[in-house]
């Protein structure tokens, strides 16, 4: 498979926080230069760039830099680049880099994702005010006429899921509670105070059955990776291998595609970093990826032991987007790389994982990566 021709050689992250009022280009450069140095490379070695979504017009704060911005920031030129909003999930930008490297077009691709939503919302006034500035698309008529927000969709999925599975809010609370417990061990997470079951159950409802703690938190920050040819790594490379990717539309199709490209099985996964824009999305990914039986996720995560850092399937080890901050898929991949490299500090899983799965997005905007630790 083409996945085997590429590795994650370096990882980097900027300062991450609420209302940083930092220049998103500076955040991007911080993450990019850190990733390049982590790979044992210099900016001159980078000959490709891939990002989601790049310099497109969306709600303010959703995107902090484009390909041209980064070329200018780092003073580099490239042989190939890619960026845009229509790709299979945020990690689709990583998959594009794998394909470009695997096709022999480039040696070292810089991938990045920069957000500054927290500062944008602070400047403009509110979440709904930034939403109002979105570029009008034909699809918006179906939501605008009815006062539909992003949480509406999560709430509709969660309500239906609870109806079909019989899962309770107490069971599903473990997604938010586990993320918070892990965030308490992550110095870069934005919410690090203890959260109890009572805190969760008494939280403000946003769109029933979704409460405040089921929603991820907008932040400012940038994450970057260098994707390199497996046969052209420096001695400093992290060498994290791509075992398989899934890019088919729809979570089940995506997972089926990923598992069709590897001999590994769901039971081999030792770490799950799953997209949690809303907590129900992680539930849907758990089941789609075969990490638990269909409609059994509530029972699977009940009590939280199985998905704790000490459990059989550690989940969102850095706090996810719910408590770590919405780094939009890239944060999950970053945490997976730390765990696979044994460099996750206080929250490192005792027996360093060899295999991790990372997912991004939901519905038809989705992708997944199956990773193996470097040799």
């Amino acid at each position: 498979m083409i996945e085997h021709s590429a590795v994650i050689s370096g990882i980097g992250i900027s300062e991450v926080g609420r209302r940083l009022h930092a220049d998103p280009w500076a955040l991007t450069a911080d993450a990019a230069l850190a990733a390049i140095a982590d790979a044992g490379l210099t900016p001159a070695d980078i000959d490709g760039i891939s990002t989601y979504p790049g310099a497109i017009w969306s709600t303010p704060g959703i995107t902090g830099a484009g390909v041209d911005d980064v070329r200018a920031l780092l003073g580099i030129n490239t042989r190939w680049h890619n960026g845009g909003g229509e790709m299979p999930g945020q990690l689709g930008s990583i998959i594009a880099a794998i394909l470009a490297v695997g096709a022999g077009v480039v040696d070292h691709v810089l991938c990045f994702r920069t957000v500054w939503e927290s500062t944008a919302q602070d400047r403009i006034g509110s979440r709904s005010a930034t939403m109002a500035q979105v570029n009008e698309r034909e699809s918006h008529q179906w939501s605008k006429a009815y006062g539909v927000g992003y949480p509406t969709y999560g709430a509709l999925w969660m309500q239906r899921y609870m109806h079909e599975s019989g899962a309770t809010r107490e069971q599903l609370a473990q997604i938010a509670l586990t993320c918070r417990a892990n965030a308490m061990l992550n110095p870069q997470a934005v919410y690090r105070s203890e959260m109890t079951m009572d805190d969760y159950l008494s939280a403000k409802m946003i769109s029933d059955p979704i409460c405040l703690f089921d929603c991820d938190v907008p932040v400012d920050g940038s994450v970057a990776f260098v994707i390199s040819r497996a046969d052209n790594q420096t001695s400093g490379s992290r060498g994290i291998a791509f075992e398989a990717f899934g890019s088919a539309g729809g979570l089940e199709n995506c997972a089926e595609m990923m598992w069709s490209r590897t001999s590994l099985k769901p039971g081999d996964v030792q770490l799950a970093e799953l997209y949690d824009g809303f907590s129900i999305i992680s539930i849907l990914w758990l089941e789609a990826l075969g990490l638990c039986e269909p409609l059994q996720a509530g029972l699977f995560i009940e009590g939280g032991e199985r998905i704790a850092l000490t459990g059989e399937l550690p989940f969102n080890s850095g706090g996810g987007q719910l408590s770590g901050g919405r780094l939009h898929g890239y944060g999950s991949l970053y945490q997976a790389c730390l765990q696979l490299s044994g460099s996750a500090g206080e929250r490192q899983i005792k027996r360093r994982p060899e295999v991790a799965v990372v997912s991004s997005g939901v519905s038809t905007f989705a992708s997944s990566l199956l990773l193996r630790a470097g040799r």
Partner: protein, 150 residues
Amino acid sequence: MSDDRNSDARTISRSSVGRIVPTSSERARPFWQGGVEGVLKIAQCSDCGERIHPPRPICPHCHSKAITFTPVSGRGTVYSFTINRYQWLKEMPPPYVLAEVDLDDQPGLRLLATVTGCAPEDVSIGMQVKADFVEVEDGWIPVFVPESQP
């Protein structure tokens, strides 16, 4: 028909829905205008009969371009719902119910709309609803009300 529609419309609290002008594209205009006649109109392929929502200029089933908007029963079943409690639009103070409704007219024909005409807490999955309309500046917004409403 028109009289029936007017009697239904009176049962809706218009202030709970507000005045929102949908960005009614040319593709979707008949959907937003159907309320003038008091009927819900959905795009339909004239060749194979497939109903298509949101409207598209080509049938995804047989690729025919003979798409017209035809009346549907407007009756359906709540597939999922939520009580929204956040004010996304200044014209729409929360709480209000948003529901995915499966129309009786074709399996999988699902609309996302507000449910009015009952307390938010009274909406449930499986509930039978029917279409109604709220007039706004440049069209009629289809909404759903309980089927059992007198």
